[in-house]
Structures are given as C-alpha cells and as structure tokens.
C-alpha cells in the first residue's frame, strides 16, 4: 500500500469504518509516522466539529407536508367512479366536509379508505396518519393549496403567529393554534388573504 493509499484511507480511519487489511495497513503506518497521527487527530477533530453542528430540519412540519402530498397522490392514483353529481372533496367548504362525515358515521357508512393499510378495521386508532404532537384544540382549520411549498407555508405561519397543532387529515385539513391569543383577528386576516390558503375556518 502506497503513502497516498494510506492518506486516502485516513478519513475512514477517523470515522471508524475501516476494517480488515485496510485497517491493519493504516494502523501500521500510524504507528510509525507522527505526522500521520497528527493528521488523524485533525481529521477526528473536524469530524467531531461537523457532527456537533446542529441543523434545524423541517421536522413535524415537513412530515405533515409529506403526508398531505402522499394522501393527495393516493387519491389521484385511486379515483372513485365518475359521477357528475359528486363534487370533489377538496372543493367543498370544510363545514360541508365535516357534515358529510357526521352523516356518513350516523348512517353506519364507511368513507372510502385511500390506499391499503395494515391497521385492523376495528382498531381503536384511526387508520390515517396522526402527528406525534397529537391533535390539540385548534384555533383555525385550513386547507393549503396543493402546490404550496413548505417555505411558503412556514413563512405564512410565522407571519401570522400560528403553529400546526393537528393534521393533515385525510382530506388535507390542518389545525392551527395561535401562539398569542390576542392576535386572533390578525391571524385570521392573514390566512384569509393568503394565496396559498384554499379555505380557512
């Protein structure tokens, strides 16, 4: 193994993924070369610094967006039979959807399930997705436009002083909570005026 081979493998000695002949060769070189040991120490420090750096990932917000789009895609992939009398669910007002759900439950009628699920039909938990944070009481419920990006949604919620407390439901409905209860009117106005909000209640 050449000097360059050893140098090429040194970062993988630092991350602990070398084994077998590679590990033996690098360790033998390290035992004889103080400069190489110093370089390994530097690489180890760089690795530790990189790994310690915190990055604010999208978290639950990104997951909610993912589930919304997966639900939407599943609905497109499995359309119901054509019926001119049926209004697409996403175009109904939220209260109309809620009323339809109540009616369906009242007459013992199961709404169509989108996509296969491993959950048993009599499970105590709903078959759909739920956020880890649970479904706390929402001050508003909204439906975002299907093409709304995560950045747009985040900007709107920050501007309006809101956070997601539940959702998305199978119908793409989010529950939003006020961070400061005194900003309720302003938040409602911001949601109503936003181009990425299809419906707000």
């Amino acid at each position: 193994m050449t000097y360059q081979d050893i140098h090429e493998l040194l970062p993988f000695r630092a991350n602990g993924t070398l084994d077998g002949a590679d590990l033996a060769a690098v360790d033998a070189a390290l035992a004889e070369d103080a400069d190489l040991r110093a370089e390994l120490a530097a690489l180890t420090a760089i690795r530790a610094t990189m790994r310690a750096e915190e990055v604010a990932s999208p978290g639950d917000f990104g997951l909610a967006r993912l589930m919304r789009d997966v639900d939407a895609e599943t609905r497109v992939a499995a359309p119901v039979a054509a019926n001119d009398n049926v209004v697409p669910l996403m175009r109904l007002r939220i209260w109309q959807v809620a009323a339809a759900v109540v009616l369906a439950v009242g007459i013992g009628f199961n709404l169509p399930q989108f996509g296969p699920s491993t959950a048993p039909m009599d499970s105590a938990e709903p078959a759909g997705f739920t956020l880890a944070s649970g479904g706390a009481d929402a001050d508003f419920t909204v439906v975002f436009a299907p093409d709304a990006t995560e950045a747009e949604m985040r900007a709107l919620l920050l501007q309006a002083g809101l956070e997601i407390v539940s959702g998305p439901s199978a119908l793409g409905i989010y529950g939003l909570g006020l961070i400061d209860a005194e900003t309720s009117d302003a938040a409602f106005a911001a949601l109503s005026a936003s181009a990425i909000v299809e419906d707000v209640q």
Partner: protein, 183 residues
C-alpha cells in the same frame, strides 16, 4: 437499525403511510443535513427533502435490498441535489483539482484555536460539490467509501481520490484561516 429500515421499506411498498412516517422520523435529519450541506439553502433543502421522501413512497417497491436503506435514500438525495444545482446553473461535475502543495502544519492546533465550527463551515463551503459531498458523507454520516461510491454512482477509487483532495484542501483552508487570524 438497518433491519428496521428494511422492514419499514417493505411496509411502505405495501402502501403503509405510518411506516413512511416512521422512516421519515428516523432519517429526516441526516438526509436533510446532507442536502443542506450541498445546497446551502434551508428552504430549497426542505423542498428537496420532501421530494426525496415522495420518491421513497413511490418507489419503495423497487428497493432491492442490496444496500442499506440509508445508502439508497442518500443516493436519491444526491441525485436530486445535483438536479437542483443544475437548475441553478452552478454545477461543476469535473474531478479536476487545483494543484496545491500539501502544506498542513499543525492542523490539529488550528482546530484547537477556537471558532472551530465557523472555520470548518467556511472551509467546507469553499470545496467543490463532489469533494464536499464525499467528506460530508464520510464525516456526517460515517459511511464507508464503498457506500459513498454507491450514493454518488462512481467507482470506489474516485471516492478515495475525492476524499484525499477534499481533506487536503480542507486542511489548507483551516491552516490559512487560523494563520491569518480570521475570527
């Protein structure tokens, strides 16, 4: 852990959204960290992360299990990041490297001199994308050179060369900053 991920992929392939949510929670942070290290734009990185997991949802049935699930997903993230950079028109796909002397005295001392994170962040940003990707996968994700080669879709020797040059340029940059007293 790897076996858990494979089980989740099998469930996702059958349309299990809860399994997708579980896999997202398990891998969202490392995948996002990798993407944002390449694009240096958190908003765009969020969108790419979203696209990656949409692809996982759509193509889980095609996962053959020949690699780790994380390696497979990083490969998707790698390709989508390249697409994003091509759209921006700032993609440099060559492996050419500036001819620089290996003048890295006391680099470990440089890192002990304080401001480590800022220095490392700055110096990573000066690397070409393929170099930065390789060093990021090696140090953020602790991947083997074989796994990095699989993610990037290049031979293992290419990855070793990229890492070698990335390491040299990183050391040089760090030494230079500390010698110049950059805070």
């Amino acid at each position: 852990m790897s076996a858990d991920h494979k089980f989740l992929i099998e469930q996702i392939a059958q349309g299990d959204k809860q399994a997708l949510a579980a896999l997202y929670r398990a891998l969202e942070r490392p995948v996002y960290k990798f993407i944002v290290s390449r694009l240096n734009d958190p908003h765009e990185a969020s969108d790419i992360l979203h696209e990656v997991f949409m692809d996982v949802w759509r193509s889980a049935g095609r996962f053959e299990g020949r690699s780790k699930v994380q390696t497979w997903i990083m490969g998707i993230a790698y390709r989508k990041s390249i697409d994003a950079m091509r759209k921006r028109g700032r993609m440099d796909l060559t492996d050419e490297t500036p001819d620089m002397a290996d003048d890295g005295p006391d680099q470990e001392t440089c890192l002990a001199a304080g401001q480590e994170a800022e220095h490392v962040r700055h110096c990573l940003e000066t690397l070409k994308d393929d170099h930065r990707s390789a060093i990021t996968l090696a140090f953020y994700q602790d991947m083997t050179y074989g796994e990095i080669a699989e993610v990037a879709g290049v031979p293992e020797g290419t990855i070793k060369t990229r890492i070698f040059h990335a390491k040299k340029l990183l050391m040089r940059c760090l030494s230079g900053r500390v010698e110049r007293g950059v805070a």
